[in-house]
């Protein structure tokens, strides 16, 4: 009974003409930016964030969610056609997708990745509907120690799973936390680190920070190399639909990809990228003829493409029910929630049921739109790929400039964005990952508030985190994760052979 009324609510809100339009524009822009090489979902959502602020909260979140999963779709198109992953989670799609394109089977590759994404996406939406409400119910009983420890765990996982050096990832997470301290202290109302600048009283803006880190810095590093000509394969519409044999081959990978993607999506720091990597490795291992992978095997496209969309959807569950963003895109989405004065988390379902169910409903609708949109629009996406970067990059710059200005009509925000563009550029050069920084920056103020309230309850004793079972669990696991690389290094020195073998598996 309850489920039916929820479904009704979801459909009613998502089928409202304006919400439908928001969803449509979201998936369209998302795919567009996802197609453009070098601009993945993170950049897509950062670039388009300001546009959504003039909308109502429901429309805005529907549109941003659409941009997110739309960009996942778009990313696979460039992987297959030009061997350039539009975003990180489509890297493995290049392996077999591009080979399929070279063999003249670009159509089925694009087709199966669209269908696979659709199936994976739909599966996780159903799981989101089923799992988020009970999880939120549990989370409602959490006090400050539990909330603080779960946020701590989330940040730890992100640094643990981030690419490159873990020490550097930790440094970035801490820098993000410190950045979050700038502005008015939530508990005492004191001004911290504002240097007397009025624009800093509300803190450093999220929009200029992410636009700088993911927009400007990306362009700056692309400007180092003048681009070479890309080879794009022609596809004709008739060949787009996968054959019966393709479907037979892909059924297993799609089913497994949905499950793998979903579970990894739930994990903080997991999400789409790892989901697609693991799905590829798993399919290769299961296959009776693994040597065919890498030569244009449709299974190598179907599995990862399904998994990355399932992962993208799965990540919504912890955000909507616990208020924990599992990856950087969802952290930005969370920032968008908060700009609309809505805190995602257990109270979201209770206080804004229209928003929760509206977004869930729009994800169904959006996935169907993407499927219908993308198959015929591939020709247009290919044309967009041909726009030279020399014309594209000034447009990206302009978008960032207007975007960061528009939220507060503030020239200071433009300066902030340029500075973070420079910082982000050097971070790329010196191999510092920006994802932990942004996640910590978004979570920071809440983590600090909960931490300080927990310590207030315990009168300053950190024992409170260990005396409650839930916070004990999360804090202990986090501490183990933080220490484990060093333990492993000691272990490796003693028995080098063992670990290298494990490393070969993937």
């Amino acid at each position: 009974m309850d489920a039916i009324s929820h479904l009704y609510l979801a459909l009613r809100i998502s089928l409202d003409p304006f919400n439908l339009l928001a969803c449509f524009l979201g998936v369209l822009f998302g795919t567009l930016v996802g197609v453009l090489p070098g601009l993945g979902p993170t950049a897509a959502i950062s670039l388009l964030l300001p546009i959504t602020f003039t909308l109502t909260p429901v429309q805005s979140i529907i549109m941003l969610a659409g941009i997110y999963y739309g960009a996942q779709y778009g990313g696979s198109t460039t992987s297959i056609l030009v061997n350039i992953p539009g975003e990180a989670s489509s890297v493995v799609t290049c392996l077999d997708g591009y080979q399929m394109a070279r063999k003249g089977r670009a159509g089925p590759a694009l087709g199966i990745s669209a269908f696979g994404s659709f199936i994976g996406g739909t599966f996780t939406i159903v799981m989101l509907m089923l799992l988020a409400p009970p999880l939120a119910g549990i989370a409602l009983k959490f006090g400050p120690p539990e909330s603080a420890s779960i946020m701590f765990f989330g940040l730890t996982m992100v640094t643990y799973l981030s690419s490159g050096s873990m020490v550097k990832a930790l440094m970035m997470a801490i820098f993000g936390l410190l950045l979050g301290c700038i502005g008015t202290d939530l508990i005492t109302g004191q001004q911290r680190y504002t240097l007397g600048i009025i624009d800093l009283e509300d803190g450093v803006g999220l929009v200029p920070v992410v636009m700088g880190l993911f927009g400007i810095s990306e362009v700056l590093s692309n400007l180092e190399n003048l681009e070479r000509k890309r080879e794009i394969f022609k596809t004709d519409m008739r060949g787009l639909l996968p054959t019966k044999q393709d479907w037979k081959d892909s059924a297993g990978p799609i089913a497994r990809g949905s499950l793998v993607g979903f579970f990894l999506g739930l994990l903080p720091g997991g999400g789409a990228l790892i989901a697609s990597l693991i799905s590829y490795a798993m399919e290769k291992k299961i296959a009776r003829n693994p040597e065919k992978f890498g030569t244009g095997d449709i299974r190598g496209v179907a599995g990862p493409e399904t998994a990355n969309n399932a992962g993208a959807g799965g990540a919504f569950i912890p955000l909507m029910s616990l208020g924990i963003p599992c990856n950087v895109v969802l952290a930005i989405l969370m920032g968008a929630f908060m700009i609309h004065k809505i805190t995602p988390g257990p109270l979201l379902l209770k206080e804004h049921p229209d928003l929760f169910w509206g977004v869930v409903g729009s994800m169904y609708v959006g996935n169907i739109m993407l499927l219908i949109l993308n198959l015929p629009l591939i020709g247009i996406w290919v044309k967009i790929l041909k726009i030279p970067y020399a014309i594209l990059f000034p447009l990206i710059f302009l978008f960032c400039l207007i975007g960061s200005y528009s939220l507060n009509n503030s020239l200071f925000d433009i300066l902030t964005m340029i500075i973070f563009g420079i910082i982000g550029y050097f971070m790329k050069k010196f191999h510092y990952d920006a994802a932990p920084l942004v996640m910590a920056f978004v979570l920071g103020p809440m983590l600090e508030e909960n931490l300080r309230q927990a310590l207030l309850i315990s009168r300053g004793s950190p024992g409170i985190f260990f005396s409650r079972p839930i916070s004990f669990l999360f804090v202990t696991v986090s501490l183990v994760l933080l220490v484990s690389p060093y333990l492993l290094r000691l272990f490796r020195k003693q028995r080098p052979g063992l670990l290298i073998k494990e490393g070969d598996g993937l």
């Binding site: 300001p50 546009i51 003039t54 020490v167 550097k168 930790l170 440094m171 801490i174 820098f175 936390l177 410190l178 301290c181 202290d185 508990i187 005492t188 004191q190 911290r192 680190y193 400007i216 362009v219 700056l220 400007l223 180092e224 190399n225 003048l226 030279p388 970067y389 020399a390 014309i391 990059f393 000034p394 447009l395 710059f397 302009l398 400039l401 207007i402 200005y405 528009s406 009509n409 020239l411 433009i414 300066l415 340029i418 563009g421 420079i422 550029y425 050097f426 050069k429 010196f430 510092y432 600090e448 931490l451 300080r452 310590l455 207030l456 009168r459 300053g460």
Partner: protein, 156 residues
């Protein structure tokens, strides 16, 4: 120049700024963590981790490795730095000029500069793209999304 050295010193300085800054706020008073508590702890951690990177960059076993690394060029093409500096210059000038020259003129000149002087396009392309972008950005943001873009001294 050693990259690890450079970056770790930078983060060390950032950590130190937040660490010393935190003494201006209450850190911990009668068992209650104050406004300075969080940046104090964060500052310490950032300093310690930067030192870890710094020390391992200076360690004799790594020296050879980093020496090889520094031999690899910082920029991948000879004139890379020129394009990056020009792009940054354009961004800063945009920021400075926007309030005076207004959105329309600043944007047009900004696009013109980037299109013509970084990876030079033909004049006809440059002018067309700059013009169309300026007009459509104005329509999208000012007229449709109701962002009040700076009119500048012309009041348009």
């Amino acid at each position: 120049m050693n990259r690890e050295l450079f970056s770790s010193v930078f983060w060390l300085a950032v950590g130190a700024l937040f660490f010393f800054g935190s003494f201006r706020y209450s850190i911990f008073r009668s068992g209650i963590p104050g406004a300075g508590f969080f940046p104090f702890m964060g500052g310490i951690l950032l300093i310690v981790l930067s030192l870890v990177v710094l020390i391992s960059a200076l360690a004799p076993s790594k020296k050879q490795l980093t020496a090889e690394e520094s031999k690899e060029k910082f920029f991948s093409q000879k004139d890379s730095y020129k394009r990056i500096l020009l792009a940054l210059l354009a961004l800063f000038v945009y920021w400075l000029a926007l309030g005076y020259l207004g959105f329309l003129l600043t944007t047009f000149l900004f696009m013109l500069f980037l299109l013509r002087f970084i990876d030079p396009q033909r004049w006809i392309t440059t002018l067309t793209v700059s013009f169309l972008t300026t007009i459509s950005a104005y329509m999208l943001f000012n007229l449709w999304l109701k962002v009040r873009l700076p009119p500048g001294i012309w009041k348009i």
